[in-house]
């Protein structure tokens, strides 16, 4: 450590003995399940030597609600609201991954209007989720202002969602075979108004944080996740792209009509906290581009799902992957031809990211740990299910 070397040099010049015999020992600090910076109920057991963190041990399971056990005793249509609660910040993605898995299993075709509406809803949800990331990231580093601005923007998106499906947070909108109801009259115009208002606002956020010297000191070269470690731990989303791997399931394992839109996939270079932050900011801009193109090209037709409540999927199994705002989410559905599925396994992106956390947190300071944990943007229900 540099500080120790400098302190020894100063002690030598002043003639003081450095190892004055003051006993120090390692101690354990519990960053407990209730903590303003743990983004939910995660417990981190830290072994510390002064301000330096020697090791981090995450303990999870404080939000394990047994969703997979519940899904074994529910019909296919009854499971859709439970997938909302699997990852509540981007619940459109979770609805979509489960419905797409069942549609692939049962060979159900959906109309083009449904596909376009699903893309618009997911991209709006991606912007809403990244706004929460931005607000809480600033809050963890001590900047309280971005939090209030970001949540004010997010209220616009919640208004748009409320006029479509009646709910602000857990939508239950994407159903097996389509969506639950069509867009109301005038919704497309309001959506374009929001995108027109939002795109210049991203520049305001960048002005507040991105090249701020204090922000750069706290995030540049902090928590570097190397490329091969990120792939070995199966990280995904902005965490993997921040480390320099060009991997986005919208392009590499397509699940929707993304080939009809023109957008870029931002990647980082070094894999530090600043890269993971800037990837998300640029993704918000790309999402606005996609929404604009999708709304302008929205085809006519029906989009309402027509699956009956007593729907039975044929025998088989399928694993569907989807790019949500945190990374790759997956849904593995096994069916034996009855009206309830045999097994539903849900895979969240933050599970793998938390697995990689102990390895990159060796020999850092505790303030850096808060920044690294916030940059992973982990939500606990994805981890614990």
């Amino acid at each position: 450590m540099d500080e120790e070397r400098v302190a020894r040099q100063i002690a030598e010049t002043e003639g003081i003995s450095f190892d004055s015999g003051f006993p120090t020992e390692e101690f354990m600090v519990n960053m407990g399940p209730q903590h303003p910076s743990t983004h939910g109920v995660c417990r981190l057991l830290l072994s510390m030597d002064g301000e330096n963190v020697k090791s981090v041990q995450p303990h999870i399971g404080y939000l394990h609600r047994a969703i997979e056990k519940i899904c074994e005793n529910r019909t296919y249509a009854q499971i859709v609201p439970y997938t909302d609660r699997f990852e509540y910040v981007t619940s459109m993605a979770c609805n979509w991954v489960y419905c797409k898995a069942v549609e692939q299993l049962s060979n159900i075709e959906i109309t083009e209007r449904s596909e376009y509406i699903r893309v618009i809803m997911l991209e709006l949800n991606r912007i809403a989720s990244h706004l929460i990331f931005l607000g809480t990231f600033g809050l963890d580093l001590g900047a309280v202002t971005p939090f209030l601005y970001c949540l004010r923007e997010r209220e616009w998106i919640m208004d748009l969602y409320e006029s479509v499906c009646g709910q602000r947070l857990l939508y239950n909108y994407i159903r097996i075979g389509g969506v639950s109801r069509d867009l109301p009259v005038g919704w497309e115009k309001k959506c374009i108004e929001f995108v027109d208002y939002f795109e210049p606002i991203i520049d305001d956020y960048e002005e507040l944080l991105t090249y701020n010297p204090i922000f750069l000191t706290r995030t540049r070269n902090v928590g570097i996740l190397p490329k091969d470690m990120a792939i070995d731990y199966a990280c995904s989303g902005p965490v993997l792209r921040g480390s320099g791997v060009q991997w986005d399931l919208r392009v590499d394992d397509p699940f929707g009509v993304y080939d009809k839109f023109d957008f870029e996939i931002p990647t980082g270079t070094v894999g530090d906290t600043w890269d993971r932050y800037i990837v998300r900011i640029r993704e918000m801009r790309q999402s606005s581009r996609i929404i604009r193109q999708a709304v302008e090209g929205l085809p006519e037709g029906t989009c309402v799902a027509k699956a009956k409540p007593t729907f039975k999927a044929p025998e088989g199994e399928y694993y569907q992957r989807l790019e949500s705002s945190r990374g790759e989410i997956g849904c593995y559905v096994i069916s034996k031809g009855e009206k309830k599925p045999w097994r539903v396994k849900l895979r969240g992106a933050s599970y793998n990211h938390l697995m990689a956390l102990p390895e990159i947190c060796k020999g850092i300071k505790i303030a850096d740990l808060v920044a690294i944990f916030a940059s992973f943007d982990a939500v606990m229900p994805e981890v614990d299910r």
Partner: protein, 156 residues
């Protein structure tokens, strides 16, 4: 994106222990014998022509007569997926760990140990992950399990 895994390479390298599975809907899947799972995974990781570097899911399924462990692997270079299944007996199931080959398997193996009762041989850190520290009611995800605070939904 329309290329698929070279399963003939796998069946020829491990004759008799690896067989190709036909699943509905069509996908790349193999059934592997439990005794060679470590060599198989090491081969998948090292073989340059396959490039299967991404283990994105590891789950267990209770099929009542037997248990199944399913590994889902992918490739960031070739863009294909492979499902690897292993059949285990319902009584005293056990399987070798692969978390030194693919580090992503670490917490997934702990999870199937505590929820299904599958013993993971040589795992570096086998502790309870999701369940409370004082859990003593067995493996809850097995079919037909009941416990102290478990209310089954009545049929309408």
């Amino acid at each position: 994106m329309s290329n698929s895994v070279n399963i003939d390479l796998l069946t020829s390298k491990f004759p008799g222990k690896v067989e190709k599975l036909e699943l509905q809907p069509a996908q790349d899947a193999v059934l592997v014998d439990k005794s060679i799972i470590r060599e198989f995974m090491q081969f998948l990781k090292d073989e340059k022509s396959l490039d299967l570097d991404y283990l994105f899911c590891l789950s267990a399924v209770d099929q009542e007569e037997y248990l199944e462990v399913v590994y889902h692997l992918g490739s960031t270079i070739e863009h294909y997926k492979l499902a690897v299944k292993v059949k285990l007996p319902s009584e005293n199931p056990s399987i070798d760990t692969i978390c030194d080959i693919y580090r992503a398997a670490n917490w997934y193996e702990r999870e199937i140990w505590e929820l299904y009762g599958i013993d993971i041989i040589n795992h570096p850190d086998l502790r309870l992950l999701l369940l409370p520290e004082d859990w003593n009611e067995g493996a809850p995800m097995r079919r037909g399990w009941t416990g102290s605070d478990f209310i089954i939904m009545p049929e309408p």
